[in-house]
């Protein structure tokens, strides 16, 4: 059992990817309804009292821009900048290594990982993920994948999934901190690179990971239309998702 003062650390990933094209921006720094994309999720995390530390992983070339955004848009919110890596897994590992002393000291009992390209996270979703992660070990939000069919080698539809067995996974994902530290240390020793946090936890620990109902508004900015939609969702919510 963790001491009663144990709190949550949130890691927002903005360090991966990059562009094949020179001069292109990282989409987490695009303007969105008066702030940068990444500021919306950092603000949502800062509104959750249980979260005591927020880490933003950045590409080294974006560090100055990220610092300016924090200064202008999030004054008073403490965010630590950490250099990301070439992959999502490496960025996560860099952040987890930074948090490891606090985890070992019992100051942090849950680590939450969030994709900076998902600006529309509601504090209510964050809280439910933290609660489930504390209870069972890990929590991953998702939405039922009701539009999925299985196709055989000849492009024939074989079966329709019921929709109750597959979910489209979102972030933030949260896990007990000691499991996260152990899993990423084991992954490094094994040379394993996971596609997301839960894949690494599943492979290297016995932590149970439970699905939590996701939020339709929690879109990942992938298509140009997503930016327009995100603007509308924010305007409709009065620029503060509940």
């Amino acid at each position: 059992m963790n001491p009663p003062h144990a709190t949550v650390a949130a890691v927002v990933l903005a360090g991966g990817g990059g562009s094949r094209f020179g001069g292109a921006h990282n989409k987490v720094y695009l303007p969105l309804a008066g702030r940068r994309v990444v500021s919306w999720s950092l603000m949502a995390l800062a509104r959750v009292p249980e979260i005591s530390r927020i880490i933003l992983t950045v590409r080294p070339e974006d560090r100055e821009l990220a610092a300016q955004i924090l200064d202008r848009e999030l004054p008073g919110i403490a965010v630590t900048l950490i250099d990301g890596g070439d992959t999502r897994h490496t960025s996560e590992h860099n952040a987890i290594r930074h948090l490891e002393p606090a985890v070992l000291a019992g100051e942090i009992d849950v680590i939450m990982i969030h994709d900076g390209a998902r600006p529309l996270i509601a504090p209510s979703l964050i809280c439910s993920i933290i609660d489930v992660a504390r209870e069972v070990g890990g929590a991953v939000p998702g939405l039922p994948a009701t539009d999925v069919v299985e196709v055989d080698g000849h492009d024939r539809v074989r079966d329709r999934f019921s929709g109750s067995t597959l979910v489209r996974v979102q972030t933030p994902q949260a896990f007990r901190a000691d499991r996260v530290v152990a899993a990423y240390a084991a992954a490094a020793a094994d040379g394993f690179t996971g596609s997301d946090t839960s894949s690494c936890i599943e492979r290297f620990t016995d932590a149970a990971i439970r699905h939590v109902p996701g939020d339709e508004r929690n879109i990942k900015l992938t298509y140009p239309q997503d930016l327009f939609m995100a603007e509308q969702i924010l305007a409709a919510s009065g620029y503060s998702l509940k």
Binding site: G17, S19, R20, F21, G23, A24, H25, N26, K27, Y29, L30, P31, L32, A33, G34, E64, L65, A67, Q68, D71, R72, P75, L221, T222, Y223, P224, Q225, L227, F228, E231
Partner: protein, 117 residues
């Protein structure tokens, strides 16, 4: 802290997936103030844009809000970084008209287009 040159641009370039050509390609995004006005895929030319009359209405409303809150925002900045505020203020004032004109271009272009039609 010197402003990053990418800070106040009204045009941004970013990789997004185009629904028309299906590729992850560079897109040019044009903003009218704080609102996204249009997105153009630089691979296939597909354009996604705000409805012009909606954009005009939303831009004017947004501009009004920005003007109303500007003194407060400037005061906060002056308190946080007094030296930078004082040294950068003349430059910011001189640049403001050009920046406003630049950001209003998508709205003005829509107005001119509608007038010519």
């Amino acid at each position: 802290m010197a402003a990053d040159p990418r800070w106040a641009d009204s045009t941004h370039h970013v990789d997004l997936v185009c629904r028309q050509c299906g590729q992850s390609e560079l897109h040019e995004l044009r903003y009218a103030g704080r609102l996204l006005a249009s997105s153009t895929c630089l691979n296939c030319g597909a354009v996604v844009k705000h409805d012009e009359s909606d954009l005009r209405r939303a831009y004017l409303k947004d501009l009004e809000g920005r003007l109303r809150t500007k003194p407060g925002r400037m005061a906060k900045r002056a308190v946080r970084h007094p030296a930078a505020f004082v040294t950068q203020l003349p430059y910011a004032i001189l640049r403001k008209p050009a920046r406003l004109l630049e950001e209003a271009k998508p709205v003005l272009a829509g107005l001119l287009g509608a007038h010519q039609r």
